[in-house]
Symmetry: C2
Subunit: 522 residues, 2 copies
Amino acid sequence: MITWNNLDALTAYKKLMSLNGKVKLSKVLDQERVRSYIVPMAKGLVYNYAAKQVNEQILSLLQELADEQQLIKKYQTLLNGDIINTGENRKVLHHLARGQLGEDVLYDGKNLRSFYNEQLEKIQVFTKKVHSGEIVGSRGDTFTTIVQIGIGGSDLGPRALYLALDNWAVKHERKKLNAQFISNVDPDDAFCVLRGTELEKTLFILVSKSGTTQETLANESLVKKALTDAGLDSSKHIIAVTSETSPLAKNKGYLASFFMDDFIGGRYSSSSPVGGVALSLAFGFNTFTELLEGAHEADALSLENSIYKNPALLDALIGVYERNFLGYPMTAILPYSQALSRFPAHLQQVDMESNGKQVNRNSEEISYSTGPVIFGEPGTNGQHSFYQLLHQGTDAIPLQFIGFINSQSGFDIEVDGSTSQEKLCANLVAQIVAFATGKNDSIKNKCFLGERPSSVIKGAELNPAALGALLAHFENKIMFQGFIWNVNSFDQEGVQLGKLLTKKVLSGDMDPTLRAYADFFK
Amino acid sequence: MITWNNLDALTAYKKLMSLNGKVKLSKVLDQERVRSYIVPMAKGLVYNYAAKQVNEQILSLLQELADEQQLIKKYQTLLNGDIINTGENRKVLHHLARGQLGEDVLYDGKNLRSFYNEQLEKIQVFTKKVHSGEIVGSRGDTFTTIVQIGIGGSDLGPRALYLALDNWAVKHERKKLNAQFISNVDPDDAFCVLRGTELEKTLFILVSKSGTTQETLANESLVKKALTDAGLDSSKHIIAVTSETSPLAKNKGYLASFFMDDFIGGRYSSSSPVGGVALSLAFGFNTFTELLEGAHEADALSLENSIYKNPALLDALIGVYERNFLGYPMTAILPYSQALSRFPAHLQQVDMESNGKQVNRNSEEISYSTGPVIFGEPGTNGQHSFYQLLHQGTDAIPLQFIGFINSQSGFDIEVDGSTSQEKLCANLVAQIVAFATGKNDSIKNKCFLGERPSSVIKGAELNPAALGALLAHFENKIMFQGFIWNVNSFDQEGVQLGKLLTKKVLSGDMDPTLRAYADFFK
C-alpha cells in the first residue's frame, strides 16, 4: 500500500531537522573517504560523493527517509503503469521506451511496450533507407543533413545528445548525417540554419507531441516556404514525430511519421522517437539502441532499495538534504567534457520544469522548498568564467562534476609533460579539492573558505551506452526528488499563463497594462 | 575627495534597511507606470523598469545611495586612469579602448588612447589585406574562416558578439569570413572544430593576454600539429592577440600580432583587439567600429548623476536593492533574440567573475551579500524549459528581459494572423505581465503567485551599434555594483587555488586526498 506524504510529515524529516551543524569537509575529506564514498552506476560509470556534506548518521537517516517515503515502491508503480501524473491523469512511461522493468502496461487494448518497439522498428527501417539512398530528396539527392524542428523537450535533449556523440561517431565511423536544430519562434533562428543548409539534401524532422506547438508550427511554415521557394517538394523533405491523435498525424504532407504518446513527457522524450529519429539518422540505429541499453541498465539499478547500491536514489537524497536541510537554493552542473556542452541546459529543463513546483501532487500548498535552480557550463571553460563566485562569492553552491578518463577523439599532444586530456582531468580533481577544503592566507583576498560540496560522476569514455546511463541517472534522480517532495514531476502548469496572455496580445484582447507593454514594443 | 566605504556603512543603506515590506507588483503595475518607468539608453535602446519592486520612495533612497557612495565620481576617476584594480595595482581602461571620456591617460611615457588607436589601425590595415586577398594561406588560398583560440574573456565575449551579428552581417552584406572558436583544454573541442575546417583556408587567432594560459597554449599545439600534418606553414596561419610583454609577443612564429595591455581585464576585453580582430575579420572593420561607437555612447551616458538619466546606474541600484534588501540570490538574463543565444553566458562571466567576492577592495571581510548568480537562455526557448520554476517554484528570481521590435533577417511569414517576430514580441510582453501579476485559480496547481520582478531592455533592431550599447550597459551596471559593494570588480583571485592544485596534480606533488582523487581518475 502506497501513501503519498508531504516531506515535512515524515519522521525521518523531523530527525534530520533536529541535527545540528554541518559536516565540515576540510575536517572529514581524506583518502579513505575518497575511496569509499563511491557507488557504481550503470555501464561502468561511478558516483563519488566523498566531498558532500554528509556522514554515516546523515546517510542512515536519508535511507530511513527513502524507505519511509516508499521511493522504490513509488518507482515500481510508475513502471507498472499507474497514474503518476495526477494533474493530467496520465501514466509516466519513458522508462518503458527503453525496456520492460515492471508489469505489462496495457492501454486502449494495446501493450505499450509493443507499441514503443514498433516505433523503434519503423525508425530502423526508415533510417536504413535514408542511409542506403533508397529514400532521397525531391530532386533525387541523397540526404546529407537533418534539421530537427522542435522546442523544449523536442530540442534540448536531442540537441545535447547529438552534440555529446558527434565526435565519438566520427571517430568510430558511425557518422551518417549532420544535424542542425531550429527551435526559437524568433525567425532569425530558422534563417540562420536555413542559409547554411543545402535544402535539396536536407531532411527536416518536425517534432511536436500535441501537433499544436506555436513555435514549431511557425517554423514549419518558414521551412516549407524555403523549400517551395527553392523549387523543392516539401512533402519529400519533412517527416513528423508526434502522437497518433495529433493534427500532424493526420496530415498527409509528410514523407513519414513516427509516434509517441501522452505518457512520455516532452522533457523525458529523448529516448523516445523525439530523440531516436534524429540520433538514428545522424549516427545509425545501433548507436541509438546502445544509448537505450545504457539508460535501461540505469533504470534497473534505480530499483535497488539500498542507497549504497542505487546512485540515482542517493544523489536525489543528498540533493534534498542540501536543499531542505542545508538551505542551498541552486546546483551547478559542471561536465569536464566539451561534448556535454549542452547537457547542463538539458538538465536545466528536466530538473526545473519537473520539480519547480509550489503545490503537492494533490494540488495542495506545501511549506518547504522544492526544485533548485540548475545552471552550468563545461569545465575547464567555467573555471575562466563564473568559478570566481563559486570559490569566493558570499553564497556556497553545491556542484555536480562529470568527467571521463579518456577523450572521445584520441586527438592529443603532450605539452609541458602532460596531454590535454591529462590536464582536463587534473583540473577536475584539483577543483573538487579546492572547493571542499579551501585555503587559508594572511591576505584575506587570497583566502578560500572551502566547504563547497560536490559530487563527481566518472566514466572511462563518453560513448552511447555511458551517455544513456548518465541521462537516465539524472532523470531518475529528479523523479526520486519529486517523490520526496511529493510533487507531480510530470506536469507543467506553470507554462500556461504565459501562453494565455500571449494569445491575448496576438488577438488584441488586452487589459490596459498588457496593452501598454504591447505598445511599448511597437 | 573620494571615500571608499562598505555598503553597510552608508546612511542610505540604513534608511533602505528600515523600510518595511515589498512593493506589490499586482497592485502598482498599471499602464501609467509602464509608460513612465522608462530611461533612454544609448543608440535608441530603452530601459523599462515598471515591473521592478520599487516605488518613488525607494528610488529616491537609491539615488541617495548612489550619491553617498560617489558612484559617478568613482567612475570618473576610473576613466582618468586611477588605480581602481587595487589588488593587482592596475588601471581599468576598457572604456578608453572605445573613446576618450576622461583626462589623457599616460603610462610609461605613452598616451594609452593613442596606443589603443594604433592597434585599431593595425586591425583595419590587416583586415583589409585579408579581405582583398593580399594576405593568403601558406598554399596561396584566400582565407574563408577564422578560428579564435582563447578561453574565458578571450572566448565568451567574442563568441557571443560574433553570434549576435552573424545574421545581421549576412543581411547587410557585411559577412566576410566564418568564425569558429576553440576554448576548452578538452582535446575533443579542438578535434571537433578542426575536422570541420578547411585548414588551408583558415586563419587562427591565438588570444592570451599573459601568453601563459594553459588551455590556450595546449590548443595552440594541437592546431600547429594539425597544420603541420596537413603540410601547411603554421606561421602563415596564426596571428596573436596578446600584451606586448608576453612570451607570445616575442615569438616570431606568427603572421601578425595585436596588442592589449594589463589595464583591460579579460572579461572586459571584447571591445579591445581580443574581440576586435575576430569581429573585423568576420564582418569588416566598420562593423567593429560601429559596435565601439555604441559602447562609447553608453559609457558617456553612464556619467549622468541622475538615476533617471543613467540606465546602467539605475539597473545597478535596483540589482543591489534586490540582492541586499529583498534577499534574492540570483538573476536570470532572458534575451528574446536567438542572436543573443550566448550573451547570457558572457554576462555570467562578466558579472560573477567581477562581483563574486567575499572581501572589499582593501581585502577586508564584508558582512553583506555581493554578486548574484547569473544564468539564462533565449526566449521563447526558455519558456519551454526552466520557466516552470520561475513561475511556480518556491523561490522568486528577478528577471532581465531583452527584446527587439524587428528581426535581423526580415525572413518571416504570417501564420494564424501573426508573423513569427510578432509572436516573439507578444510572448515577451505576456511573460512580463504574467510574472509580475500572476493569476488566481480555485485549483492551486493553476495559481500563479506573481510578484516576480523584471525589467526589459527594448531596441528597434540588434545591429552593431545597439549591441555595443547593450554590452557597455551591462559592463557599467556591474562596475557600479562593484562600487556599491566596495569590492574590486577587476581581479579574480578566486581562480588561483584551482590553478595551484592542478599544477600539483600534474607534477605529482600531491597530498593524500588529492592523490586519492587523481587515482580515482585513472
